[in-house]
């Protein structure tokens, strides 16, 4: 079987910990499509009841800001955007993440 054809794309997962909070990036996962990504995210990132709502976004669809002077250092080829910015910082007030 052709492994490249069967490999599932990467999705970024955002969870709302409880009502009143923003969705926060919690990680990523692989899934064949958006519906399965939501299902997998529910099982993987909220199996201890950590959230009330989930968003998933194809990792390839995320556009990141260009590194600027606020970064401690940056790639010389600053116009290139890296495709997999997962595991962003999670605020302390989001429980159980």
């Amino acid at each position: 079987m052709n492994e490249t054809r069967s490999a599932w794309p990467l999705w970024e997962v955002f969870v709302r910990g409880k009502r009143g909070l923003n969705h926060v990036h919690v990680g990523s996962l692989h899934a064949p499509d958006a519906e399965m990504a939501v299902r997998n995210a529910r099982d993987l990132y909220t199996r201890r009841n950590e959230g009330v709502s989930i968003w998933v976004v194809p990792a390839a669809e995320i556009t990141a800001s260009s590194p600027d002077e606020k970064d401690p250092f940056f790639a010389p080829s600053g116009d290139k955007v890296y495709r997999h910015p997962t595991f962003y910082a999670i605020p302390d007030d989001v429980p159980h993440l």
Partner: protein, 340 residues
């Protein structure tokens, strides 16, 4: 190869050497200041490569680690233990997924890493190459193996690479429950029949030395430690961690009423630590090189599951392509309210 990996793989392509040196200095200053390196930051290629290897091995260990305990899910002797064990093995799959995701922020690809695992080109923790012949093994794995893993992993919650550190925080929280369920199972068994107490002692006898081996070879035989410490992707030496584990475990063993199978084990008041004997390092290297009781079985199991599943992954991918074609677009986001 992703764009990120191409970039990182040839940082000197358009960059003068002087500029690289400056970037390296700034990188090290950031690390020294206990700041985290994030995916879009510049990083030395060797740092990236070392991290991918280290995190992938850790991820593989979680996935292979599902097998020795998974061996007992269908035979767990109470429904409560069955549920706990199933949830625990499920957590291990989750931990593997968090870690594979961390490698992907470095430009690695999970499919490629899985291929390396099932082809035997990438290692996982040798502890999982030992068999689990009795149900007491489930408890002892929780207590000693998860306990040793926690010793190794808690310092990594402060490791220099942000995505790795954050994955480790989540994993350590879940692992602490794993360890406690193991210890609780052993306490329950030690209060049970004489037969059960013997079962626990037998399992401790078999797992004690392999648990000590989980910290890796003695410092004088360990390579790369110095560079990894400088990069803060390793924060304590193997021997420091091993000592810490022994010091923490001895009182737990006493409370449990089991004997740790090391005649040299005794408190050294002068050092403020326990003295203990050395594991059989020849055995360690044999198992690392593939000659342990379960190496072939564990890898074959993973390979079979992966290859048996290929047609399912292919079908789902084909379905998604058809749908994307129907909708006239590629990926799209999805959300669910109140689904969790």
């Amino acid at each position: 190869m992703t764009e990120r990996a191409e970039l990182a793989a040839s940082p000197g392509r358009e960059t003068p050497e002087r500029e690289i040196e400056e970037l390296e200095r700034r990188f090290q200053r950031t690390v020294d200041a206990e700041q985290r390196i994030e995916p879009r930051d510049w990083m030395p290629e060797a740092y990236r490569r070392t991290l991918v290897r280290q995190i992938a091995q850790h991820a593989h260990s979680e996935i292979i680690g599902m097998q020795p305990e998974g061996n007992w899910i269908t035979r767990a002797p109470s429904l409560r233990r069955k549920a706990i064990l199933l949830a625990k093995v499920q957590d291990e799959a989750g931990h593997g997924l968090y870690l594979y995701a961390a490698t992907e922020t470095l430009g690695a690809d999970r499919e490629d890493l899985t291929r390396r695992l099932v082809d035997g080109r990438q290692k996982y923790s040798s502890i999982f190459n030992y068999p689990t012949p009795t149900f007491a093994d489930v408890g002892v794995i929780g207590w000693l193996v998860d306990g040793a893993a926690i010793c190794n992993q808690v310092p990594l919650c402060r490791t220099s690479y942000g995505p790795y550190a954050r994955a480790m925080i989540r994993i350590c929280k879940e692992e602490s429950f794993h360890q406690r369920q193991g210890y609780e199972l052993l306490m329950t068994m030690m209060r049970g029949s004489a037969e059960q107490r013997a079962m626990v002692q037998d399992a401790v006898d078999r797992w004690w030395w392999p648990s000590l081996m989980m910290f890796g070879p003695p410092d004088d035989a360990s390579t790369n430690t110095e560079q990894s410490m400088r990069w803060r992707i390793k924060r304590h030496t193997n021997d420091e961690l091993r000592q810490k584990f022994v010091d923490m475990t001895v009182p737990q063993a006493e409370k449990l009423g089991v004997t740790l199978p090391d005649p040299q084990l005794r408190w050294n008041a002068e050092r403020g630590h326990h003295d203990f004997g050395q594991p059989d390092w020849d055995e360690f290297w044999r198992v690392v090189k593939g000659d342990g009781p379960c190496n072939a079985q564990r890898v074959a199991h993973r390979r079979r599951a992966h290859e048996d599943g290929a047609w399912v992954r292919e079908a789902a991918a084909a379905y998604a392509r058809k749908r994307a074609g129907d909708a006239g677009g590629t990926g799209r986001a999805a959300r669910t309210e109140g689904a969790a």
